[in-house]
């Protein structure tokens, strides 16, 4: 099985990347405001589109990638737990770009392969995007995931070099990429790493939505840029989460609010309910909104986990009952058993 290394970047790409498992029909948690999806509950961790795009990139098959991309880039459906086909496509790419334990020669090959594609296909938006993303992957490989202050100067220099190269690549092809929401999101990743302003990032997130009204990956990226560790603060983060719910998926209540906060729990180092401005009743409603439209086991498990963190025992019990014998380890960070015991206490 391929080793996935989902970091913030892949979260940027789609809503439900970290979700998991199979499921059965889900109907209990619905608001009644939208029809619950019928049929088996998706895992919420992957999708056929993600698997196929990962496979095509993994084997270096550009033609296949482009065929998939052309079939998904303007798709407006949310599938397999709540992401668009385009977002799942990016998830697949991210698996290859973020290969576990890969070293620089791997990223050098990835850069060389996608550079050749970009040169051979100057009029292909996808070819230009793939090369840009490879430059970002190489930049990140030098930087690592630690705080900037702990990155050694030579690695930092390489990181900045490749970030700058990606920026040039995206700007040079701006005209070709003017209809690609993915270009906005990739540029946001660059700007976030290049100390760009929040206003610029927000403009890009809105631009991504203007290019593709269902591609809310820009707002997830904007939320990341609003975290204290990226120069933001709790108020700004909350503002982004609310704006995302209002603008990105306007017909789905507070679903995006919950998603954005849920994805940031690690960034708040387990103290989200203490240090952020999250409003649990709103977040709880957002989970219900999400599950009403795009039920999936991963999100259900995260709902229970966050309810536990919020010390909302009735909700934790309610959702744990729905989970039954389907707890997802990767959704719980080893906290399932302690939450379950706490929820069972009188």
């Amino acid at each position: 099985m391929r080793g996935f290394s989902f970091n913030r970047l892949s979260r940027t790409c789609t809503a439900l990347l970290l979700a998991a498992l199979t499921g059965t029909a889900m109907g209990a948690i619905t608001t009644g405001s939208a029809p619950a999806a019928s049929g088996p509950m998706p895992e919420g961790i992957t999708s056929r589109i993600a698997d196929e795009s990962a496979d095509a990139l993994w084997y270096g098959d550009f033609d296949r990638l482009e065929k998939i991309y052309n079939s998904v880039r303007q798709s407006s459906e949310f599938v397999d737990g709540g992401a668009t086909r385009l977002q799942w496509f990016r998830v697949g790419l991210a698996r290859v770009y973020e290969e576990d334990d890969a070293t620089d020669p791997y990223f050098a090959q990835l850069e060389a392969m996608t550079h050749a594609w970009a040169v051979e296909r100057p009029n292909s938006p996808l070819a230009q995007l793939l090369y840009a993303r490879a430059l970002y992957a190489r930049a990140r490989s030098f930087r690592g995931g630690d705080y900037a202050s702990r990155v050694l100067p030579p690695a930092w220099q390489e990181f900045k070099k490749y970030i700058a190269l990606e920026k040039v690549q995206l700007e040079r092809n701006a005209d070709l990429l003017k209809n690609e929401s993915t270009a906005d999101i990739y540029l946001m990743m660059v700007i976030r790493n290049d100390d760009g302003s929040f206003e610029t990032l927000r403009a890009l997130a809105l631009d991504a939505l203007a290019r593709n009204s269902v591609d809310d990956g820009g707002f997830v990226e904007l939320a990341t840029a609003s975290l204290p560790k990226w120069g933001g603060n709790a108020t700004r983060f909350d503002t982004v989460a609310r704006e995302a719910a209002r603008r990105a998926r306007p017909a789905s209540g507070m679903a995006m609010y919950s998603y954005i906060y849920d994805q940031a729990t690690d960034d708040f180092e387990g103290e989200m309910f203490e240090v952020s401005e999250v409003d649990w009743p709103t977040m709880r409603q957002g989970f219900r909104d999400w599950m009403a439209r795009w039920p999936n086991l991963y999100m259900l498990n995260r709902f229970a986990r966050d309810a536990c963190h919020a010390q909302d025992k009735p909700t934790t019990r309610e959702v744990l009952d729905l989970i039954g014998n389907r707890p997802l380890a990767r959704a719980w960070d080893n906290q399932f058993e302690s939450c379950r015991r706490w929820a069972l206490e009188p």
């Binding site: 095509a56 084997y59 270096g60 290969e99 334990d101 070293t103 620089d104 050098a108």
Partner: protein, 377 residues
Amino acid sequence: MNFKNRVVATIVAGFAVAGPSVAASVTALHGPASAADRQLGEAYVGWIAKVFEVPMTPDVDAPLRDALTIMVNAHLDHLRILLPKWIAEERARGGSVLPPGDLSRAIHNRIVNELALWRIESPGADYDAVLIRAILRPGICNLPVRGSYLGELTTWFQAVPPADRPILLAGERALLEHWGTRREPLPPRPDPSLADDEASEIARLRSGKAVPDVAMPPFLANSVFKGEVVNSSTDAQCALHQWGLARALHRGDSARAALLSWRYAMMKTASDWSSPAPIEAAKRDAAAYPLVARQWAIAGWVDLRVVRDPQGHFASASIANRHIVVPGVADNPPVAFETLFDDASIAGAPLRFKSIDSRADGTASNAVTMRINWNLQ
């Protein structure tokens, strides 16, 4: 990411189960010679039928399956004529005292060598041009499991445009008709081999400073730079040599030369058709008589080019020449067996070199030739 866990030995396992083992042949040969010989011949035809099993997986289209079926049936008919001849030749060579196990080994060796010869010959430039396009097609090494050697090769047929397919099929038919004939002139084994060339480039890339001339697909890069054994996966082996071929063409090698290197690299050797018990193999001294060579009664010698350091001590060894004697293979070079002693010869070189060095052979050069004899006890 990990590779699909399909090893080259998949086919070998099929052979081990379905193929005519030496022991089975010995039993068969307890009967009257002619009946036993017929039985032996049929057993080997049955094995080749498995090797040439037409893949029935849905990714192989019906017209291709039909064309392959016709080709394979013709080849099996051809073999039904060849095998009695080969058996008769062995009997004539061995006389009335030919042990039954030896007969079966000889036939096995001849078939294994024919399988190798089949893959290194070119039926012509048109075929080669089509094949190169198929080999270099991106994503081609995402190989579906097809259960037979022909199934693996079907990948190339399936990859080419419909208009090119008849060229490949005609070429394959022509090559199959060569079975049992003396191939002249057989193109010599390239030196350095494609694998050598790939290994030196990978070492250069691993330093992190070199810029790739031709990029690897990510799955190959991942395997190579994480130090995984590329040869343990058919996909990775395919991709490695696809990359090697692309590099050779990129630097200006002729299509003919580049493809020949690729053919030798992709050719299945006697080791690929044999499966020594893994535990036994793992325990063995790397310089010991190779199990596969012992199994098929292979002997010969290997000349090593040994480089000495300034103090006259052993520094490195490489293959300079080989002479391999293979029971059953007399009409053509034993291409499937030629490299059987390479690794063991090189592994044993430092130890053996001491004795040569201590004789102070008086050679001024830093490189000397050392012959390693491999004689069956």
